[in-house]
Symmetry: C2
Subunit: 457 residues, 2 copies
């Protein structure tokens, strides 16, 4: 517990009312999108960079932990008070400070919700490409902290590709600026990208400068149904090999489709073993031409049926299955774990076969979603945390899957983060020497280890 | 000077013949694209990662400096033995190890020349977008070390946007791997991008994994001549504001054009105050449509004439002026300094006016090239290193220009690096706190400070 003296100082900084420690407040902040719960001592809701700097100085003086947290949608447990301390929340710092149409960038506070930014940018015919599934809830601060990806990653990349600059409060309470509003910037070490994906362990973002792109004038959506999962997976690499880069290339397996049907969602041809959902954006002519080529390619690779949306309403209908998928799967059992192992695209069929094999080996219920176009697999493991025996099998399955992904040249996490969920696997991907470098970097930024300790390191 | 014992051990690792210390060898490696000369003790030419690991261990034992160097084309002095030591050269490690068509990536050794990689990739209909002006000479290792940009940056970004993974020999001689072959990877701190642009101060790259894109099937090239420099600059922001992202958006001012004419290159309408060179790539239809829209926009913004290439030969002719520019300008006086201050795109007209003003204020000869589409200015300062008085004025002009760029939200260096050229200006862009973080990171990687010391920190 933090001391009364520390609490007193924090209350003074936060005008009393923004220091929350009632049971119902701290309960709300005791968990995030991952499973375990850790009750924080309090929740701080600062309004500006000066308050945050003051809070960090108090934390250093009294030696308690600060855990920065956006909307808490992360599913790796990177925003809970695992080793005690207080949560810092950002819903009072939710302003879009600037949209610079000519320089194609925006400056925002960390608490701005991704989807709100998108809506505002659309008025200027601009887009911020990263689109995590949580985008209508999750904040830009959290997105940067986790280096969030999303379905559009195939064509547009991830958060780090659109992060230009940061204002950061260091664990010491000092404030620095990194990067700026320019696409090109090679001054000094790239602190901006080092901070991106650092899971709240190196600094607190107080201003974020993002690169924008023109809003694509047109898009087309296709859905292809396959009688064979392998055919769907090989279609993905065939599309890329043909020189086309769709905006999204999503895959759903038979289990997902069955669950959606049972859930009362869309119904599918019973021979369907996998579905691809493909979207292309850009100029109208290009979109039409690529849509046709992709449709032909899907059929050539064995698709039983290809639907192509002619209107936005039809497109929305095709997306319906994908959007329902997670909710439907998550409703099947008390808990659902979303895996995130990622492999080079050409190994996609192989890693999917591995998931199928592990599902049988460990007698589990697993549905497979994938951002297939960038090799980012999302097996959905339906389970029950209270069932120790089953959870043992889940853990073994996760370990074996991560080992398989690494052995294929992949990574533990494509876009969900390490947090406390995968900290134990870090040794698979990194040598002790590489981990020591990371620990050394953490010490440089946070010598007292007060900022989100006990996360992935 | 390194000791005889150290030299003996190095010779043993390098089979004697790849330890070079004849006067003509070390003279060749005593300078790079920047001006000052520092004679190294020797030049090491390793063949593989094991030799490099052994060399680093020897360097730690005998405490001498290692300066990694690609083709030495950098113009910030980041590959010279400023504080003594030996140069490590990579021309024996110049193999393309893998081109993975399906996963859209390549694995190369550091000594592979960028242009050679491009030629090979074209056979697979693939492209590696970063295209520094030095690309037919400079190496991928050097490009990663400097986070090289290039004209295509407007549309495609820079080296860091295409760097997926590294094998690195640390200053300790230990070998680590970072990243991999996946576009998405959020495991641990982003060591890959921290190493990108680190100017040879944190580690030696021995294998580099790069993301590739499909080779665009078509492109079109336009040249627009303006009677007013401001009109040219505002056309740049107007094109971007119209939602178009050309591949390149290059600007040349009157001085550049005069020099090209005097040099015996192309002749220009004497009323021309600025030239824009614009290229669009992509699918054929798109390229045609955007070419037309851009041509109309140029005229609307005051262009006196717009030429559009109908054939590759005509396109090459339009590029001729841009390609001749640097050589022509560099031939005017004994030395030519290429500045690299970069600003948010919308400040481009303002920073160009600043250059014009400083040219008069300090009575210098300066021609302006710019990767205008990303605000990356390249004023070419024609001067004579032997003229101390003039060099004093050059230094003052550089300082004032950098201050102006920073005050506009820009950066000291868009793509050329800091090295020894701009080390003295780092305090303009970074607070002492931020610089301390960088120094701390350097100590974590290189506690004995033996890898390219005396560079930008």
């Amino acid at each position: 517990m933090i001391s009364q003296a520390a609490a007193h100082d924090l209350r003074a900084v936060l005008e009393n009312v923004w220091y929350l420690d009632e049971p119902e407040d701290i309960a709300t902040y005791s968990y995030d999108g991952f499973l375990p719960e850790f009750t924080p001592d309090a929740v701080l809701v600062p309004e500006n960079v000066e308050q945050i700097a003051s809070i960090m100085k108090i934390a250093n003086e009294y030696k308690f932990n600060i855990i920065p947290r956006g909307a808490g949608t992360n599913i790796c447990g990177s925003s809970v008070a695992r080793e005690g301390g207080v949560i810092m929340a950002f819903h009072r710092m939710n302003k879009i400070l600037e949209i610079d149409r000519e320089s194609m960038c925006a400056v925002v506070q960390p608490g701005v919700v991704n989807g709100d930014l998108q809506k505002e940018l659309a008025k200027y015919n601009l887009m911020y490409p990263p689109d995590p599934a949580s985008m209508y809830v999750s904040t830009i601060g959290g997105n940067v902290s986790l280096n969030a990806g999303g379905p559009r990653g195939v064509k547009y990349g991830v958060t780090r590709d659109y992060l230009l600059g940061l204002e950061v409060v260091l664990p010491s309470g000092e404030i620095i600026k990194t990067g700026g509003k320019t696409l090109k910037n090679v001054s000094g070490y790239d602190l901006t990208r080092l901070l991106c994906g650092s899971e709240g362990t190196l600094g607190i973002f107080t201003e974020i400068t993002l690169r924008l792109v023109p809003l694509p004038p047109a898009k087309t959506t296709l859905q292809a149904a396959y009688g064979d999962l392998d055919d769907a997976a090989t279609t993905v690499t065939a599309i890329l090999a043909a020189g086309m880069v769709p905006t999204t290339l999503e895959l759903m397996d038979r289990t997902v489709l069955d669950v959606i049907s049972d859930y009362g969602g869309a119904q599918f041809n019973p021979d369907t073993e996998a579905l691809l959902l493909i979207e292309v954006d850009g100029d109208e002519d290009l979109v039409d031409a690529q849509g046709e080529r992709i449709e032909a390619l899907c059929r050539e690779k064995g698709a039983m049926a290809v639907d192509r949306a002619q209107t936005p309403e039809e497109a929305e209908k095709l997306w319906q299955a994908r959007r329902t998928a997670f909710g439907a799967v998550a409703s099947m059992r008390p808990n659902c774990i979303v895996e995130d192992a990622t492999v080079p695209v050409k190994r996609l069929p192989e890693i999917i076969r591995k998931v199928v094999q592990l599902t049988q080996k460990y007698d589990l219920q697993i549905a497979v979603l994938a951002h297939a176009g960038d090799g980012n697999l999302h097996p959905l493991i339906m389970t029950d945390l209270r069932d120790k025996e089953e959870m043992g099998r889940v853990d073994q399955m996760l370990e074996e899957l991560c080992e398989a992904a690494i052995s294929m040249g992949g990574t533990l996490s494509g876009e969900h983060g390490i947090g406390i969920a995968k900290a134990r696997f870090m040794g698979m991907e990194f040598s002790e020497t590489a981990l020591d470098l990371m620990r050394g970097i953490k010490r440089v930024f946070d010598p007292n280890n007060i900022l989100n300790p006990g996360s992935f390191l």
